[in-house]
Symmetry: C2
Subunit: 203 residues, 2 copies
Amino acid sequence: MKHTTKNPTPYHHGDLRRALIDRAIEVVETEGVEAVSLRALARDIGVSHAAPIRHFPTRSALLAAIAKRGITTLLASAGQRANEHGMSSLEKLRSMAEGYVAWAAEYPAHHMLIRNQDVMRHADDELHREANAYARLHEELIRQAQAEGWRSDQNTHTLFVEITALTSGLALVASDPIYRTVLPGQLHAKEVGSILGRFFSEA
Amino acid sequence: MKHTTKNPTPYHHGDLRRALIDRAIEVVETEGVEAVSLRALARDIGVSHAAPIRHFPTRSALLAAIAKRGITTLLASAGQRANEHGMSSLEKLRSMAEGYVAWAAEYPAHHMLIRNQDVMRHADDELHREANAYARLHEELIRQAQAEGWRSDQNTHTLFVEITALTSGLALVASDPIYRTVLPGQLHAKEVGSILGRFFSEA
DNA sequence: AGAGTAATGTTGTCAGTGACAACATAGAAT
DNA sequence: ATTCTATGTTGTCACTGACAACATTACTCT
């Protein structure tokens, strides 16, 4: 016989996969990657301890899935910025860097995860392919900017390293709570803009 | 009755603390922070599973102790570079940045640990104090370099962020295995020198 | 509509781990 | 020599990831 009243705890959750991801992101942001436990997530959500396995075979798979989602959105945003009309390669480079830093600040959990050795170690090939796609897009733009006259006398690889370092560093400072202990004062988006503006200038 | 032959496995290890640290560093470098397990370390070394607790009350304490040791040596090296005679503040800044990147490349495990959110979260106040000492030394040098004419028109905080980001980023690229997937080719010390030389130039 | 199948959730279990307590041993101090 | 303290061992507990066997729901095909 069917219930006429709503069942308070239905057998099936509805969107457990999404719920796991959302809760995991919360935990990463508040307590760190280490604190993510499949059983604790299940408890928080209100399902049995083994339910998560239907969606993510291992804990690493869950974290890697979140990281992958992050890289995908980042790559999409970068692709857009790199294909904007009426922009020089140099302007595109700057836009990509700004986009990266802004993305890290907006999604600190995703950023932490893609920076986490233990997570990336268990990531599948596609994730690494996407990360490489981002790097190659970057590299190609640098080459073009150099062809258009920007720092054309410098070694492309060195320039790539420099841009990668500066961008990654800014993303770190923008999203990593560790820096909040060390940094005197808050990091403002305007500062990032000013730093990148200076770096990606014609001079 | 006493043995006249050497006991192959003495009751006391001799220097278990050191052995734990050494083995933990190896594991961090080869398998990542996550793979460090007190019980596994004990097994590898050949002591009982609870022996490590005499030296480090928790797993976090062990990792934090290694991180602290790292920051201490880093700070010592930075202090030396900052007090070198016959160097302008700008040259000292450059030397500090180079020292940091070289340190990260030489001690990747230590660098990973001080960058690890989960480790630093459980670190004691003294560790944070040392990290702050490093930052304040940095800041003071920037102020002096500006007083001596370098980028004197720029905001000190923004400059601090920029240097921190560039240095941290280079250290990441120099020591983090993740970048080996993305980077086309190896990172050479010469490149780091060229990047920092350009950045810390009078021009 | 109804049967059969796939997807999803549950219960039970196992080995590995961190942490703790109680006990054992060796070396140092008096 | 006796006692004390540092260090190591054994035993145990709760928690976790992973897996297997089973239950329930949703979906599909006719």
